[in-house]
């Protein structure tokens, strides 16, 4: 019966020219030079990193002032990955965390390394480990991972409204 089934393969492909838009260019140029640059909303004054298409989604206005944030930050929440999956490149267990960079008002996701997964906790202070400068591109992948700084944990109140 299976031999009666006719199958066709119809691969599709289209090339796109993606422009990130002026709102994100500053952020990407910053990364290319080892700087973390967010932008401030002129209405609610929150600092976005990354600056999400250059828009404050809360206010629906274009973000304005450029603000250098981090490089250190605080883990606000995290997930321990124990499950192997196809294409996995990092040894399990590892931790994916939401990190609130100093001076930013939204968390960003990154990998935590150089510590046991069991030791990661909310409030833990972390700092980035960069790729070799020769490999930098306009991408957050320039940061290999974040590692603990050894500073005392941040008070819950510091990041409570960013959870």
């Amino acid at each position: 019966m299976a031999d009666d089934i006719l199958r066709i393969r119809t691969p599709i492909g289209i090339d796109y020219t993606w422009s990130s838009g002026p709102g994100s260019v500053v952020y990407m140029r910053g990364l290319e030079n080892g700087k973390l640059i967010g932008r401030r909303c002129p209405d609610c004054e929150l600092v976005y990193f990354p600056p999400r298409n250059g828009i404050c989604p809360r206010c629906g206005v274009l973000l304005a002032a450029e603000v250098e944030v981090g490089p250190r930050g605080t883990i606000t929440t995290f997930c321990v990955v124990n499950v192997p999956f196809l294409g996995q490149t990092i040894k399990i267990p590892y931790v994916a965390a939401t990190i609130l960079l100093d001076g930013a008002d939204i968390g960003m996701q990154h990998l935590i390394q150089e510590c046991e997964a069991a030791d990661v906790r909310m409030g833990m202070r972390v700092e980035p480990v960069w790729k070799d400068k020769s490999e930098w591109t306009p991408s957050l992948e320039n940061i290999l991972y974040y590692k603990p700084t050894g500073e005392p944990d941040a008070d819950f109140d510091v990041y409570a409204r960013h959870l």
Binding site: I12, I14, W18, G21, N53, I55, G60, L62
Partner: protein, 351 residues
């Protein structure tokens, strides 16, 4: 039925290739239309958006468009994977059900992000037509050929449509095709996709269009002369091109009948005719007499075709004719799909 009117229309600057992100294109247009209608975000109780992920090559790209709306506190919004004209229809239904009173509808597209002739092919039947990659322009050329062979359209008529569109484009600062030429000059041009010449095909654009519509109790606060939607309908033809007579548009004829187009004279028609022969096929199918109705005073989609916004722009341009008092009764139309497969038609009146 609740009386619903279009009370404001704004279009962003059409460009051949913007470096703005789609969301950055939308933000100023939303601000401008709220100002135009003199309303706050909180006055809008339904937001509806039309766009197409295949144009940006980004799945769920429409979700980021919500960032442009300032969705805090939470808003009621929706999206159609269609031209903004279909978002307008959804909003009209929403208002009819009583779930909303005032809606902001917008459509946007960045045609420059990819090869639209190829991207639009993905609308076709994925088994036997799309894998051939016929290209959108070639399909429209087939439609034009069918109409010419059936004797319902002539090359001269097509050239006349282009010539008039180019003349009207001179008065519209938001177009991408310039320079009046008469029909004889146009017919001297070589064909690029027989029987289409380059000027029979639309000037592709990146752009945004937005409309605010509301009910009778608020319409006059937002607009001196609202464009009342007296009839609206949309219909779809078979996807299979071989099952259709491409020399006419059955779905446009049905939508026109149910919207009530022929019940009275039509002062102005803004038809979403992206290829020159579309206008002739549509007018015949919809019962519009092109000799007595002012056709596309804006120049139409031929001279500026921001995909996913150009259909909504026809509704907006038709409404503008009512706002200004230049028309009492206008027909707005939008089409999607290959060879006028899907059609939406509305009758707008000033009184």
């Amino acid at each position: 039925m609740r009386d619903v009117a279009i009370v404001a229309y704004i279009e962003g600057q059409n460009t051949s290739a913007t470096t703005l992100s789609p969301v950055e294109m939308i933000v100023p247009v939303v601000h401008e239309i709220l100002n135009r209608a003199n309303v706050q975000r909180s006055d809008i109780d339904f937001w509806c958006h039309g766009s197409c992920d295949y144009m940006t090559g980004q799945p769920f790209s429409f979700v980021s468009a919500v960032d442009a709306l300032g969705a805090w506190p939470p808003i009621m919004e929706s999206h159609v994977e269609m031209d903004g004209a279909w978002a307008l229809y959804e909003a009209w239904v929403k208002i009819q059900t009583g779930e909303a009173n005032t809606a902001l509808v917008f459509g946007n597209g960045k045609s420059s992000a990819g090869d639209m002739n190829r991207a639009l092919t993905l609308q076709l039947d994925p088994y036997v037509v799309a894998p051939l990659w016929p290209g959108f322009r070639s399909l429209e050329a087939m439609g034009a050929r069918a109409a010419i062979d059936a004797g319902t359209v002539t090359e001269r008529q097509m050239a006349d449509v282009v010539s008039r569109s180019l003349r009207d484009a001179a008065d519209n600062p938001n177009v991408l095709a310039y320079g009046y030429r008469d029909a004889d000059e146009l017919l001297d041009e070589p064909m690029t996709a027989n029987p289409l010449r380059a000027h029979d095909c639309p000037a592709m654009a990146d752009g945004v269009a937005a409309i605010i519509m509301t009910t009778a109790d608020r319409a006059l606060e937002m607009c001196d002369r609202p464009a009342w939607i007296r009839g609206i309908d949309h219909r779809i033809d078979f996807q299979n091109l071989g099952l259709r007579d491409l020399s006419r548009s059955n779905s446009a004829a049905l939508a026109s009948f149910h919207a009530g187009v022929t019940k009275d004279k039509v002062d102005v028609a803004e038809l979403h005719a992206t290829y020159s022969h579309h206008e002739i096929i549509l007018a015949q199918s919809m019962g519009i007499d092109r000799s007595t109705t002012r056709m596309m005073p804006s120049g139409g989609a031929l001279v500026a075709n921001p995909l996913m916004a150009a259909g909504l722009a026809r509704f907006g341009q038709a409404a503008r004719q009512i706002f200004k008092g230049d028309a009492d009764r206008a027909v707005a139309h939008a089409a999607q799909g290959a060879c006028l497969q899907q059609n939406i038609v509305a009758v707008l009146e000033g009184n």
